[in-house]
Symmetry: C2
Subunit: 405 residues, 2 copies
Amino acid sequence: MEINGARLMGNIRTLGTLGINETGRSRLAASDEDKAGRDYVKGLFEEAGLEVVVDRIGNLYGIWRPEGCPDVDPVMTGSHIDSVINAGQYDGDLGVLSGLEVIRTLQEAGFRPSRPIVVVAFTNEEGVRYQPDMMGSLVYAGGQPLDEALDSIGTDGTRLGDELARIGYAGTIDPGDIKPATFVELHIEQGPILDVEGTQIGVVESLQGIHWKRITFHGAQNHAGTTPTSMRRDAGLAAAKVNVREREHALANDKFLCTVGTIALEPNAVNVIPDKATFTVDLRSPVKETLDSEDAGLEEYLLQVAEQEGLTVESEQLTCFDPVPFDEGVCQRIEASCEARGLSHRRITSGAGQDAQMMARICPTAMIFVPSVNGISHNPEEYSRDEDCVNGANVLLDVLVSLSE
Amino acid sequence: MEINGARLMGNIRTLGTLGINETGRSRLAASDEDKAGRDYVKGLFEEAGLEVVVDRIGNLYGIWRPEGCPDVDPVMTGSHIDSVINAGQYDGDLGVLSGLEVIRTLQEAGFRPSRPIVVVAFTNEEGVRYQPDMMGSLVYAGGQPLDEALDSIGTDGTRLGDELARIGYAGTIDPGDIKPATFVELHIEQGPILDVEGTQIGVVESLQGIHWKRITFHGAQNHAGTTPTSMRRDAGLAAAKVNVREREHALANDKFLCTVGTIALEPNAVNVIPDKATFTVDLRSPVKETLDSEDAGLEEYLLQVAEQEGLTVESEQLTCFDPVPFDEGVCQRIEASCEARGLSHRRITSGAGQDAQMMARICPTAMIFVPSVNGISHNPEEYSRDEDCVNGANVLLDVLVSLSE
C-alpha cells in the first residue's frame, strides 16, 4: 500500500495558505487564523466520513471506526496545526494531514482495522499565545487541570476558554475520554541531522529533557580605566566563563547540549565594568543522569567562578523536564517499515518538545521524523522535500496498519 | 608653607552644594547648574584679587600677577568644575579650588613669584552633555577648531555656543592666548590603587591610551534543542571567548587593561542559538606598543574565532587615543615635595582621561593624585579624606612655588 502523495502535499499546501496575516503564517492557538485552519481540517475529516469530535480544551479528533470494527481502545496519530508567528507550513500540519491521508488510503484499499484509528489535532502545541506549550496534549494526558488551562491568559490579555468558544471549538467531551492503545506522531525533525547525513527517516526513541536556568552574577561597578585587573569584580566576565565552559562540556558529550541564548549586562556602558550579568542557560539531554549531573556540575561551577571573581550568584530554575523515553516496540515497528521500504533510517532524539511526550505518559508512544532541509524550522524557510514527507507518511501507514491489523 | 586646609575643604563643600537638581549633583557643561558653580568660583577668584578672564570656549581663568611680577609665560594649574550626572564633590573641583588655595596661601605669605600663576576651570571636561569630553582643554591645546566645538549639539538638542552665551560665559579671548610655561593638575585618583596600598600621593607620570572597539559576530540562528554542538554557529559563544581571552591577556600584563562593558545578542531568546552578538571592548595601556600590539592581536583572534565557530566578524574602531607621557621634570618636583613633607608616594598612570593630557601637547605637564576611598568616582559616594586632599594641595603648593620662584 502507498499513500497518495499528491493528495497529501496538496492538502499541506492548502492548509499552508490559511491563517496568513500581516505577520506571515501565524495560526496562534484559538485565533481567527487557527479557526481557518481548523475549519479546513474538520472539513477534510468530514469529507473522509470520520466522526468529528472536539473536547473541552479544543483538541479536534477525526475518528475512523468503520462498520464491524470492534469498539476497543483506538490507535491514535496526529500532531497540531497551531503555529508560531511567521511560521513554515510543515511543523505539526504534516502529522495531522498524514494521519488523515493514511486513513483515506486504508479506506480506499478496503482495509478492515481491528480497532478504531483516530487522528488528532491538539490545541496550542506552540505555546506562543498561551502558556505552557503542548497544552492540549498535556491536559489530555492529565498533566494540567482542564479549568486551569482554560483560564490561561494570553499575551493579548484574552482567556483561552473564551477564545475557544468564540471560534467555535470549545467541545463537550472531556480530554482523555478517548483512551488510545498506542500513539504515533509523524513530524519534521526541525534540526539538521537527517538532512546533513542524508538519512530518510528518524526513528525517534526519546525526547530530550530540558532544564532552563536564569543566572545572575552580582559584582562591582567600576571604571574600566582606573580599576586594576586584580581588583575587578566583573559580572560579565563570569557569564562569559560559564558560556565557554558549557560549550566545552557539550563538545565532550554528544548526549548533552547547552545554549546561552540571552544576556543582559548592567550598566551596559563601554567604559564601566559590569556589576550585574543576567543570562539564561538551556541544558538538554536524552539521558536523565547526564542532564542532572550537568545541572549539578554547572551549579558548582557558578559558586566556584563567583568566588574566583569576587561575585555573588543567584540561579533560578525556569523549566525542568525529564527526558522522555519512547516505546521500544513502536520504534521497532517504525524500523521494520523502513527496512521493508528500503528507506535509510537511524535512531534519533527529539530536541524539541512534542505532543508525543505528553501522550507517552498514558500509552506506548513513538515518533517518526523526516528531514528538515538545513534544519530550519519556525521560519517561512522551513522546508521538507515532498519525497521525504511522502516517505514519512508511508512509514506511518505501515505502523498504523501493524497496530490495527 | 602650608595651605589653609579648613578654607580649602570649606570651599569644596560649598561648591558641592551648588548645581544639585532632581538628578543629584549634576553640573553638566553650560547648564544652569554649571553657571551656579562658575559664579561661585568666579566670585572666589575676584575675592582673591585675581584677574578673571573667560575665553571663547568658556574656559575660566584666575590670573595672579602681583605688582612687580615679570610679564612672562605663567605657570598654570587647575582642572574643571563641570560634572557627570549624580556626581560626587571632588572630581575636578579639588584641582580648581586647590589652585586658588595655593595662590591665597602665597599671597598671605608675601611670596613674590617670578612668573604669573594662573588657575583655570576648563569647560566640559566630562563630555556628558556635549561631545567630545575634555573639550575646553582640547580646544585650548589646538586639538579641535573653536567653531566646531561651539557648534556641538548637546544630548538635549542645544548648541554649546548658545548655551555659553546664555549663562554668561562666552568670553572674548581666544583659547590658547595664555601660553603656560608648565601645567600641573591635582585630581582624585578615581581608582583604588592609592587607597588599597595606603599611599598618600600618586605621581602621575603618564595617562593610558584608549582604544574602543565595537565588534559584531554573525552566525546562524538555530534551535537550541535540535542543533548538534558541532553544527552550531553561535555568535554569543564567540563573544564570550573574546571576553575570557582578553582577561587572560590583562592578567598577564599589568600595563594592560581590557573591559567588555556592553553586549547584545539577537534574537536573545532562551532556546535560540544567537546569530548576532554585538559587544564593545575597551583596551587601555600607558605603553603605546602594548596597546597597539594588543589591539592587533585581538583583531587576529577575532578572525581566528570566527573561523573556528563558522562566523563572520566586523570590528569598528570607536576611539583611538595614544598614551600620553607626562613631563619627567615636573614628576620629579612632585616627588621632591613628597619627600620633603614625608608623604608616601608612587609613580602611577591615569586610567581616566584628563585635561592635563591635552595640556601635555603644548607644555611640560604632570598630575598629582590623591586617594579615592574604595576607588569610587562619578558617584555621590565618591570620597577623598580631608587630610589626603590637604596633602595634595600642599604638594601642589610646593610644585608651583618651585616653578615660580
